[in-house]
């Protein structure tokens, strides 16, 4: 490496379909509101983008509380897709997303193939929205929300419907609660997804042994945080061997070394969710740490290390 290139900051930009990110960090859906909640604590211009909380066709009150249970090295949640519905969302919320100095990725959830097509089309039509993440893997709305990510035929149909509804970057969020995540990844890629978000939360439960009831109002929930990181890294590893489209790695990322595990397994970007709750500046540490790692290893760009630990990486 020449002295000139050594002095230059490494390039950590990345690309998901048509979406270019100067920094490869997204903030996970449902964990970051619309970004404004964290604006007092972090310069949003220094993150790659925020994935908005999922929106559905109709308003949803969400699950009864309690919705959160802290557990060893993680967090169980069952929010239940509380949201105002796409009509109110477009009327009252979307306009202010134009102020965000980072990418804004809309998240679409649904209960039918038609829901995914309808909400994707209406949301993606707005200029404030840079890309769409298809949440086919919410574990907390009965079985129906996750069905789409757990059945290859339904995953394929939901993706195809959303693909037809927008030309913007389409990221499909996969569930770890399947026998073979690589199989789902392949059909979603074939159906036209531009990128995959790997993984959503892992299904789990905690029981109050004194009261003899599940702790969550919804009984079961989704586990996030450091507890699921090894599950998520393996999922990225397996998906990266099955598809060529970029992967957004997520699940328990709290710092740069965590993020690098995902990148070396094959992720082109990472998403931070629960990690923001204990340290709102974690995304800055992740970006700075990735740059420092590249410098230390004599690399000039992120793309040189994506999948470096994964011999069968396809991307």
């Amino acid at each position: 490496m020449s002295l000139a290139s050594a002095a230059r900051a490494p390039d950590i930009s990345t690309r998901l379909g048509k979406l270019e990110l100067s920094v490869p960090t997204l903030m996970g859906s449902g964990c970051y509101g619309s970004g404004e909640e964290y604006a007092p604590f972090i310069d949003l211009a220094r993150i790659g983008g925020v994935v908005l909380k999922s929106v559905t066709r109709l308003p949803r009150l969400g699950n009864d509380p309690p919705r959160l249970v802290p557990v060893a090295s993680g967090l169980l949640n069952a929010i239940g897709l509380q949201n105002p519905g796409i009509d109110s969302y477009l009327e009252n919320d979307v306009a202010k997303f134009a102020e965000r100095p980072c990418a804004v990725i809309g998240s679409v959830a649904g209960f039918s193939v038609d829901d995914y097509a309808y909400v994707t089309e209406r949301l993606a039509a707005r200029d404030e929205i840079d890309a769409i993440e298809l949440n086919i893997s919410c574990p907390n709305v009965g079985h129906e929300g996750e069905t789409f990510a757990c059945d290859p035929a339904l995953a394929e149909r939901a993706t195809r419907a959303a693909r037809a509804a927008t030309g913007k970057t389409l990221i499909v969020k996969l569930s770890p609660n399947v026998t073979d995540i690589a199989e789902i990844a392949r059909v979603v890629e074939a159906a036209g997804a531009d990128a995959l978000a790997v993984i959503n939360t892992v299904r789990g439960m905690s029981i109050d042994v004194d009261r003899v009831v599940p702790r969550l109002g919804n009984a079961s929930g989704g586990l996030s945080g450091a507890a699921i990181r090894p599950i998520a890294v393996l999922a990225v590893w397996e998906v990266a061997r099955a598809v060529k489209i970029p992967i957004v790695g997520q699940g328990g990322i709290e710092n740069a070394r965590d993020a690098l595990e995902f990148i070396l397994a094959g992720a082109s970007a990472v998403s931070i969710g629960t990690g923001n709750f204990t340290d709102p500046r974690a995304p800055l540490d992740v970006a700075d740490g990735i740059r420092a790692y590249l410098v230390k290893h004599g690399r000039s760009s992120l793309s040189e290390i994506v999948g470096a630990a994964n011999p069968a990486f396809l991307g």
């Binding site: 964990c31 604590f41 802290p70 105002p84 109110s88 709750f277």
Partner: protein, 276 residues
């Protein structure tokens, strides 16, 4: 709830004093002048101790004088034990102030403060605010034992009347703090309360029966503390001004309430608007 709204921020502070007024109850003082200036009575901060496993805990902001702010915690699990083990000189990140505090100007000139356990921590700044503005303040304070009644003298020093109750009768009334409130509620123009949920429900009952308006500061497990994750909701009347444009129904449901975030729309709510 109040009109006062200052921007929260991450405050990297250092513990400057530590006091353990009762076994398992710890008060940590920190130098954080900007946080002192920004804090409205009844707000809280997410508090993150140093160390490898950084975990945040929501704590009410207790004292705020000049450049020092303090939090009070009771040790219940690994997170609070880690905080309780801190000593002067240790670093401590606080992000806040968060949530909406009490709307004290709406409670009139003779206010009952009702505290249960470490709920007392969210009521000292309200007492100070009210007394400085010439209101009469009466603290009704209950705990399990006499030892767990901490810092009642700080309220008395500032000019508040104080009535105490303990579960075991070791000090004050042998019974619940809400019995003390019930006996004198009619002399008050408003109530502000913080404590465990059963106590707050009882306060809401007294307020309803006596038609004295009450504001309750709710306790709940928070994940983000900033309104981002929707994990800490409480059912709130759909007409409440604290929850505009909130979804009122899921498909097939007919409900007359919304789910408001305790950390963002609260933690203080009007008792008569809660649908719990």
């Amino acid at each position: 709830m109040p009109a006062v709204k200052l921007e929260p921020a991450v405050h990297s502070t250092v513990v400057c004093d530590r006091r353990e007024p009762a076994p398992g109850i710890v008060i940590l003082g920190c130098r954080a002048p900007d946080l002192v200036r920004a804090t409205h009575p009844g707000q809280f901060a997410m508090v993150v101790p140093p160390g490898k496993e950084r975990v945040s805990t929501a704590l009410g902001l207790y004292e705020a004088d000049h450049d020092r702010i303090s939090v009070m915690l009771v040790t219940v699990g690994p997170r609070t034990r880690e905080l309780a083990a801190l000593s002067p000189g240790d670093s401590l990140d606080m992000f806040g102030p968060l949530g909406n505090g009490f709307d004290l100007d709406a409670l009139g000139s003779d206010v009952a403060l009702v505290a249960g356990g470490v709920g007392i921590a969210s009521l000292l700044l309200p007492a100070q605010y009210l007394l400085e503005r010439g209101a009469r303040v009466h603290l009704y304070y209950g705990a399990r034992t006499a030892a767990a009644l901490v810092d009642a003298d700080l309220f008395a020093e500032r000019g508040a009347a104080v009535s105490l109750a303990t579960d075991d009768g070791s000090r004050g009334l042998h019974g619940y703090v809400t019995e003390l409130l019930l006996a004198q509620v009619h002399k008050h123009t408003g109530i502000a309360a913080c404590g465990p949920s059963p106590m707050l429900r009882a306060v809401a009952g007294v307020a309803r029966a006596s038609s004295v308006p009450a504001q309750l500061s709710l306790e709940e497990t928070f994940a983000c503390g900033v309104g981002a994750c929707w994990g800490c909701v409480v059912p709130l009347d759909r007409s409440s001004a604290q929850a505009p444009n909130f979804p009122v129904a899921a498909p097939g449901e007919r409900r007359d309430y919304v789910h408001a975030r305790i950390c963002k729309e609260g933690p203080v709510f009007w008792a008569h608007e809660l649908r719990w």
